[in-house]
């Protein structure tokens, strides 16, 4: 789950179905079928990453970028935040990456698709010739640089956040702390082989599009990686079309990146366009950090060669854009999801029928209105969200169908169905008659706070007594919802954004009983159903996109049937641009602007 913040609210707009196949995408690999149906990807007639042309942009010019928040990490081995990715993917080339309008892997540093062999226990990748690092390194990239990039991720001085989630199967990875890893072999300068201890070749192959696989020159980076923590980010070199401005020694800090103030991306003189699919129209990207989203948004809407890069543009600005600057608003579907985590382990919600009763009673439409309605949300009916592989197989927008899913059939809530389930749970008058007080800990600030209040009211309608607390989002997670021993009954608005389009990235950690940990736990409801755990374990090893979609969609439906949690919103990201910008967002990166495709008019 990458860092992202809740999406923002605007007035609802009529949802118009988009004929995605005719959306002007010039990318041969853009595949609407792999993303979902046109209805699920509708953006109400506003621009979307799926409708923006990827070719024919004007070359040259400087794009100004305003962003309220600073970057978290610009080291490709540490970056794990959608706003960071906008820079990292413009400056680095992982083995694979995704085009703005696609969630499918495209070879980037790699020459072709990954070869999965040996019963999914070996993954082989050949890398392109002639790719060079930016100054001051300047030399050609080899497979050893990719190996070092991954090895340094296990070095505690670097500590790639997701390395043990997706690369644990590589032999020697679980105990790696930097230095060579037994399961990573480089037979020659252009080939890298991953030997796995389990048949998880598909997952490892899919994860090769994460920025961890962007090459890092060992002889140059090693001295920085010895620092505790590593400060390679401040001296980093690039392989992508752009690089953070640096001096002759390679120093970026204070030149190309001034924390809390600015970042400057200039063209990488060693970038080889013939080896890359990105057009890289712009000459320079100047990022200015700080301010308030509301002011920044207005500056962008009234400006020219300027965009706002934010994990959430301020709701009033989105509303203003939707009303007065329609051509400057981009809506990106598939930007994550939100659901209500209910404690499956202790308290009244250890009873499946009580969970179903809450699901049935809840007015999910009202919760989504608090987030801005149809323009920036869809009412969620299951856990796999639009653009994730398996979404359609799991029922698409409508969700799983059948009498056993009646609690999911009323987005506005249905108290009669809720009462039916309360009775099944052993409360004859359809309302809770126990004596437990529910602990509800939500996140302060709009719209999570409004969502939490709707949940609180629904619980009261079902007869519960509620102890309701709102805290800052990071505290809600770190102190309460991520800590099982706190025994929080309901976390009313937890969010999830996938690392890539494979359904495992959405469902596995969030609902796997074997993944429950004492702190930093993201199986918030502590779902621990042996049948589901077994299905998750089996699905991890499934090879092939369609087969995985089917396998994980089945699990998704089982989770709905189990009412493991209550999904209420599928997010769409709103982005704004100045009048002279042809902005292109990345559907795979919660809609953030892609600087390698954006151009000036």
């Amino acid at each position: 789950m990458r860092s992202y913040r809740s999406l923002v609210a605007v007035a609802s707009a009529a949802a118009l179905a988009l004929a995605l196949a005719a959306c002007g995408s010039s990318s041969p690999s853009a595949s609407s079928s792999s993303l979902g149906t046109s209805a699920a990807l509708s953006t109400g007639g506003y621009k979307s990453p799926l409708t923006e042309p990827l070719t024919g942009g004007k070359r040259g010019g400087t794009l100004n970028v305003l962003q309220e928040i600073d970057f978290e990490h610009l080291d490709p081995g540490i970056a794990y935040f959608s706003v960071d990715y906008a820079v990292v993917f413009a400056t680095q080339r992982p083995l694979y990456s995704q085009k703005p309008n696609s969630n499918e892997e495209t070879p980037d540093m790699a020459e072709g698709p990954p070869q999965i062999s040996d019963g999914a226990k070996t993954v082989t990748v050949h890398i392109k010739h002639g790719i060079r690092f930016s100054p001051p390194v300047d030399r050609e990239v080899t497979s050893a640089d990719v190996a070092y990039a991954i090895e340094r991720g296990a070095n505690p001085n670097v500590a790639t956040p997701y390395i043990q989630v997706y690369f644990k199967a590589i032999e020697g990875m679980p105990t790696a702390t930097g230095g060579p890893i037994k399961g990573i072999e480089t037979p020659n300068r252009y080939e890298i082989v991953f030997h796995l201890s389990e048949p998880k070749g598909q997952l490892v192959a899919d994860a090769l599009l994460l920025p961890l696989t962007a090459a890092v020159p060992k002889e140059y980076a090693e001295k920085f990686d010895k620092n505790k923590p590593s400060n390679y980010a401040n001296f980093q070199v690039a392989t992508g079309p752009y690089m953070l401005k640096n001096d002759a020694r390679g120093k970026v800090l204070g030149i190309g990146y001034v924390p809390g103030k600015s970042a400057t991306l200039v063209r990488n003189p060693n970038w080889n366009p013939s080896s890359d699919y990105r057009p890289a129209y712009l000459n320079e990207i100047d990022v200015k950090i700080g301010g308030t989203s509301t002011v920044l948004g207005r500056q962008v809407l009234e400006g020219t060669n300027i965009v706002q890069n934010e994990s959430a543009v301020a709701p009033p600005v989105v509303q203003l854009a939707a009303e007065k600057y329609k051509s400057q608003l981009e809506i990106s579907p598939g930007a994550g999801s939100h659901y209500i985590a209910v404690n499956n382990k202790v308290g009244p919600f250890d009873n499946i029928d009580v969970r179903k009763a809450l699901w049935a009673a809840l007015d999910r439409t009202a919760m989504n209105k608090a987030r801005g309605g149809e323009l920036v949300t869809n009412v969620a009916t299951h856990f796999l969200y639009p653009t994730i592989n398996g979404f359609e197989q799991s029922g698409g927008l409508k969700g799983p169908q059948g009498p056993q899913f009646d609690f999911n059939a009323y987005p506005e809530g249905n108290m009669r169905v809720a009462e039916k389930y309360m009775k099944l749970a052993g409360y004859p008058d359809g309302r809770y008659s126990g004596h437990e007080t529910l602990t509800v800990v939500g996140s302060s600030g709009s719209p999570a706070e409004q969502d939490a209040e709707i949940v609180e009211q629904t619980l009261k309608n079902l007869g519960f007594t509620v102890k309701f607390t709102l805290v800052e989002a990071s505290t809600m997670y770190a102190k309460y919802c991520n800590v099982p021993k706190e025994e929080i009954t309901v976390c009313p608005s937890v969010g999830w954004a996938a690392d890539f389009a494979d359904p495992q990235t959405v469902l596995n950690i969030a609902f796997n009983g074997t993944a429950i940990v004492p702190t930093g736990n993201t199986n918030w409801g502590q779902t621990d159903v042996p049948k589901i755990n077994a299905a998750l374990a089996a699905a991890e090893n499934v090879v092939g996109r369609e087969a995985r979609a089917q396998a994980w969609a089945k699990i998704d439906q089982e989770l709905v049937e189990d009412a493991a949690a209550i999904p209420f919103d599928w997010d769409k990201q709103a982005n704004i641009e100045g009048s002279d910008v042809d902005g292109v967002g990345d559907i795979w990166n919660v809609g953030e602007w892609d600087y390698s495709y954006t151009s000036l008019k």
Binding site: M1, L66, I69, D70, E72, H73, Y80, A154, P156, N157, A159, T160, P161, Y162, I163, Q164, V165, P174, T175, T177, N227, K228, P229, S230, N231, A233, N234, L253, V258, P259, G260, K261, K288, I289, G290, G291, T292, T294, V295, L296, R298, Q299, E302, G303, E472, S474, T475, A478, K479, I509, A515, V517, T519, G520, T522
Partner: protein, 319 residues
């Protein structure tokens, strides 16, 4: 006097140690998140978390961590490194301090000149139309939240999103040495917004203090002796200004520690914004550095005010 100053300075150092200790303890006990866990990412191997804790020195007993920090701070003026950017906290503060100084000093000049002028005029013309208008305006400025006033100014006067487009807007700040004119114009709105509330307080404070002083026996006596009104007012203001001066010292000290709201609204990269960001992201070294800086400014301002009392009010003497 020298002994007094030395004693105050030593007390100041002790206070800094206490502030340091409190910050240290609070940010390790309160639920802001373990930096090692934040760095380790999702589903980290416990060994990895331990290793990061070791790397960051978080595995040592709290008291040792604190002692290490104090040693580095007092003997090397080393405030550590940001957990995120790896930038030295000392250089991070050094870079932002001129920005906050620019903002605070300019605003302080405005509010002291504006507040005192209005307050003195009001005190001398009590119950007149000018007095009522001035005090009414002061009340209004006191009631208006800084961030709201900032937005209103931007929407009215900023050259990008404002109606009148006469002053540089948010994000236009440049350093004094880079372009003095741009520096000056970019700070006009922030200065006014930051000064507005304080000027109102000073105006009301000096008005009531001066009004009271002007009714004192010695003022009547001076008048009876035929002293010129200008000289009488000067005497009165000198007596009435003491409480204002105390407040001024404190307020400047606080603002030098960062004016978060104004810095945020006008996108000025000062200490306040940095401190806020560091708190949100559990970047302990930066939090400690900026909190210590704020505390140092407040302590120093207090000492300066106390010493200055002696010169402002001959009745005050120090032992």
């Amino acid at each position: 006097m020298i002994r007094y100053i030395i004693r105050r300075l030593l007390t100041g150092v002790l206070l800094l140690v206490i502030v340091c200790a409190l910050t240290f303890v609070f940010f390790r006990i309160l639920p802001t998140g373990n930096p090692a866990l934040l760095r380790a990412g999702r589903d980290p191997h416990p060994n990895l978390v331990k290793e990061i804790e070791r790397v960051l020195g978080l595995n040592k007993p709290l008291i040792i961590q604190f002692w290490d920090y104090l040693k580095e701070f007092f003997f090397h003026f080393n405030l550590g490194y940001s957990y995120y950017s790896q930038e030295s906290v000392r250089s991070l503060i050094a870079e932002r301090l001129p920005v906050t100084l620019s903002l605070t000093i300019g605003a302080a000049v405005l509010w002291i000149v504006g507040g005192l002028s209005v307050g003195i005029v009001s005190a001398l013309r009590r119950h007149s139309l000018v007095d009522r208008l001035s005090m009414g305006t002061a009340l209004l400025l006191l009631s208006v939240p800084e961030f709201w006033l900032g937005f209103v100014f931007l929407l009215l006067f900023a050259n990008d999103i404002g109606k009148l487009k006469i002053l540089p807007g948010a994000g236009s700040y440049v350093g004094l040495t880079y372009d003095p004119w741009k520096w000056f114009t970019s700070l006009i709105m922030p200065w006014i917004v930051l000064a507005a509330g304080s000027a109102a307080v000073y105006a009301r404070l000096i008005r009531s203090s001066l009004a009271e002083t002007m009714g004192e026996d010695y003022i009547r006596t001076a008048r009876a002796k035929g002293l010129r009104e200008r000289a009488i007012i000067r005497q009165g203001v000198r007596s009435a200004i003491n409480p204002v001066f105390t407040l001024f010292g404190l307020e400047v000290g606080v603002l030098l520690g960062g004016a978060v709201l104004v810095e945020t609204v006008f996108n000025i990269p000062g200490i306040g914004v940095e401190n806020y960001k560091a708190i949100v992201s559990s970047d302990f070294p930066v939090v400690q550095g900026t909190v210590l800086l704020a505390a140092a400014f407040i302590i120093a301002a207090n000492i300066v005010v106390d010493i200055a009392y002696a010169y402002l009010d001959p009745r005050v003497r120090y032992r």
